[in-house]
Structure formats: structure tokens, C-alpha cells
């Protein structure tokens, strides 16, 4: 079954249309990357799937069911998102514990203490971080918390918006390894936005190259690794990041 299906998706912010006629199908368990330069509409697609960019037309289906334009509670249990900036994605006045318990409280799920402890273990954070405030954590630790928060509702699909671009190179590797392990352990589907092609070859199975709000090419990671992308623009992008 498809985890995510996008059909003729147009997304606009006000009067400006930023994504044009995107068609995409991500099977369950796959890790799919959207790559492209800044402003090519990749993050906007993630926000529309998550329900944070409500002005779209076309069809977005999650695990076979079309989603509505607003944030909806059933969809939030299936799809969660990890944001780009770990410094901006955690509430400065809330402890890690309350950030992680919040989704459980919203959905009325019990056993909160145990679940929070379990998820901290999953993302490789010590229990002593549990009652700290975000400013007492490093960037990498914050991003682990953000990933943990996304996992609280045990979603099937994780949307990753450049999850490592705000981090140091050494920390990036840790987070990527963590994501890879989590995906294997929980059979997650990833839809990741990035402009870092090495990250794509490390973590993803397929990729779509985007430009000016349109998908230029969809390719296998094997093609990327061998430098066998078809479209001239994709080759250009590959050359630019390799150089």
C-alpha cells in the first residue's frame, strides 16, 4: 500500500502558487527524498501533507485515505514531522518531559511516564535530560528530542524537513544514523527534504529533483550514486553539490 500519494497537487501561499501539479507515490516503508535548490517548493509539500499549508488543490492521500485541508487528529497519529531548526522547534519554557507528554495528553493516551522514558531511550537520550529545559541541551540533543516528539504518537510516516542542516557535521552523522536505525526498527516511511545529496544516498531509496515548484525527475538512489541522472538540471545540481 502507498504511504503517501500526491495527485496533481498545487499549493499556494495567498496569490502566489509555489507548487505546480506534483504527482508522487511513496510506498510504505520507503525512504524518499525531495531535493532541489532553496525556494523550489520542497518544504511546502511537506507542510501541505502535514496540514500546515492549507491552500492546496489536488489530492493528498495518507495510507490510502485522502486527507482534509486542516490539521486532523487521525492524520496526526499517522504522520508526524521533524523540523529543520532544533533551536526553533522546542518551546523555550517547557521541559523536555512536557514537550514529549503533550501529544499523549492531546490524544488522551495513558502511561505517559513509561512512554516518555521509552522514547528517550529509543532516540539515545539519557533519562537525566528528561526534566531539562531546551536551553540546557545542545543542538544535536534538541534534534533528538524533536525526533522523539514526532515518534510519541507512533506514526507510520515521518516527514523530515532538512533534519540535519542546522547541525555540526559530526552531529549530523549521529542524527542520520539514529534516523536510519529508527526506520529499520519501526518500519517507518520517510519523506525527507534536503539539498544535501550525500544524505540522500545514505538514507534514501528514491529521490525526486524539484525546480520552480515542479518535479523534474524521479530517480533511484543507485542512479544518483553512479551519477546517472537523466535530466540536465539534475546533473547540474549533482555537479554543484559534488564540487
Amino acid at each position: 500500500m502507498s504511504a503517501l500519494t500526491l495527485k496533481n497537487l498545487d499549493i499556494s501561499y495567498g496569490d502566489t502558487k509555489v507548487v505546480h501539479g506534483v504527482n508522487l507515490d511513496v510506498p510504505e516503508g520507503e525512504s524518499f527524498a525531495l531535493v532541489g535548490e532553496s525556494g523550489s517548493g520542497k518544504s511546502t509539500i511537506l507542510r501541505a501533507i502535514a496540514g500546515l499549508a492549507p491552500e492546496w488543490t489536488g489530492e493528498i492521500s495518507v495510507l490510502g485515505t485522502p486527507r482534509t485541508h486542516r490539521v486532523d487528529r487521525n492524520v496526526s497519529r499517522q504522520v508526524q514531522m521533524v523540523f529543520q531548526d532544533p533551536y526553533g522547534s522546542l518551546h523555550p519554557r517547557k521541559t523536555i518531559d512536557s514537550a514529549l507528554s503533550e501529544p499523549l495528553a492531546i490524544h488522551g493516551i495513558g502511561n505517559r511516564d513509561e512512554r516518555v522514558e521509552a522514547v528517550l531511550k529509543q532516540v539515545g537520550l539519557d533519562q537525566r535530560f528528561r526534566f531539562r529545559f531546551p536551553h540546557q541541551l545542545s543542538g544535536g540533543q534538541r534534534q533528538r528530542v524533536a525526533i522523539a516528539r514526532a515518534l510519541m504518537l507512533e506514526p507510520k510516516v515521518l516527514l523530515l524537513d532538512e533534519p540535519t542542516s542546522a547541525l555540526d557535521v559530526s552531529v549530523q552523522a549521529e542524527i542520520l544514523n539514529l534516523l536510519k536505525r529508527l526506520r529499520r526498527e519501526q518500519n517507518l516511511t520517510f519523506l525527507m527534504v534536503t539539498h544535501n545529496l550525500p544524505v540522500v544516498s545514505f538514507l534514501c531509496d528514491r529521490l525526486a529533483v524539484m525546480r520552480h515548484g515542479r518535479i523534474v525527475e524521479i530517480a533511484d538512489v543507485a542512479q544518483l550514486k553512479q551519477g546517472e541522472l537523466r535530466e540536465p538540471y539534475s546533473r547540474e545540481l549533482l555537479a554543484a553539490t559534488a564540487g
Partner: protein
Amino acid sequence: MTTRAWLLADSPTSRWQANAGRAYRVFTALLRNPLSVLGGVIILVLLLTALFAPWIAPFSPTGQNLSQRLLPPSGVNWMGTDELGRDIFSRVVWGSQITLTIVLLVALISAPLGLLIGAIAGYFGGWVDKILMGFTDIFLSLPKLILALAFVAALGPGINNAIIAIAVTSWPAYARIARAETLTIRNAEYISAVQLAGGGPIRVIVQHILPLCTSSMIVRVTLDMAGVILTAAGLGFIGLGAQPPLPEWGAMISRGRTFILDQWWVATMPGFAIIIVSLGFCFLGDGLRDVLDPKSEGKS
């Protein structure tokens, strides 16, 4: 483990310890600023005076003794007596209760009201914002004292109506601040994360946006307290606030006006009380601003 080590623990083990630690850090930062300590001490003295007025005041605040009228300050009447022979010191002490009541009630009514209206307007935007802010602008465009006067005139003079009038005139400024803060917060990723988890607008506003607005609100409210005291005193001075024989400071100044040339202490003593308490709130507010500023968060 000492209490201090427990409070400053790097890895708190419970919700309660984490919050207590944060409060302790704010408190110690506040102690490092001498002016805010002075302000805090003044407010503390005001609180204690109001609480223990019956024991502190040597005389009754309302008991008249016409043979003792208009006596200058002395060992018996520390601040002298007024035109009805009442001890001014006792009246100032009892007046602290009235002032504190006014200040607290105005803060309790207007700050939450302003916060809520501002946060709702900022969060929803669109026509909700337009209506609420239009309403706020109408209130803002009217001079505070005049508006309070109009309310008191409509409701009738008295301390409760003065409180209502002042509260009604002071919320719009808070609503503006709360709205401005909400606008900068509402698109933050941590708000998106709550929405994404299925959190509705009430949860987002009450649990996530308001806590971030409150620190600047506390600062603003303490700084405004001086203005509230003065407005209350002003209403009392005009005769629309507390009614005689209540020992409200503004009303006392108003009565002393007649004798200001020959018996200066009648109007001056309550004037001092107003100045000192207003200054206390200003100092404390300034200190709080330095400590609670979200931008300095993490440094303290």
C-alpha cells in the same frame, strides 16, 4: 544535598524540581540588581503594612478629635493631624490597604483580559483580529483618566467603581503587547508541532502562547502599577474615587489642598506614600524586565 544544589541541579529528576530551579534562577538574578531589591523591599513593606495595619497604626484612621486638629508632625502624631484631628500616619497606614486592593484588583482584571484578547487576535488573525483590535484602538485612543472619569460618572463614585474604571481603561495596552508577541510566536515551529500533534487553538493559546507573553506582561504590569496608583489617587483627588472617611491617599491630598500653604504636612505625607510606592513598583518592574526578558533566557 543542599537545597541550593538541589535547585540548581543540572539534571532535575521531577517536574517540580525543574520549575523550582527555574524560579530560583530568576530570583537570584533579581537579587543581583540593587534597585530591584530596593523596589522589592518597598513592595514588601507595603504588603506588611497593609496586612498588619490594625497593629501598626497608633490611632484610629477615622476617629476625629477636633481639639487636636492640624497639629504639625511630632513624637505623638508622626505625620501630624488633619483638619478633623485624625492622625495622618494612621490614615496613611490604613490607606495602604486601599491602594494595595486597587493595584491588585486592577492587575488581576486587566492583565488577563488584555492577554487573552491580544493572544486571540494575534493567533487567529483575519477578521477576528480586525474586530478585536479595532475595539482595542477605540479604548486606546481615549485618554485614560477621562475614560475612567466617564465610567465612574456613569457607575457612581466609590472605590469599587474606580477599580472597574481603571481596569477597563488599562487592558488595551496589554492586548496590544500580547498581540504583537503572539504574531512573532504563532508561526514558530514549536507551535506548528503542537498543531501537528492535533492540539486545538485553546490548547495552543493557553498552554503555549500565553506562557511566553506573561513575562513581558508581568514587567509591563509592574511598571504600570505606578500609573494605576496615580490614576486611583487622581480619581480620589477629584472626589470620584474612595469616599470620605476612607483614608485613600489621593483623597487625603485633595483634602489637604486647602491647607497646603500653612499646614504643608496634610497633603505632603500621603504624597510621599504615593511617590515611594510608585517608585517601588517601577524599580521592581525594571529589575523584572532585565531578568524575564525572553531574549536573555538561557544566559541567566
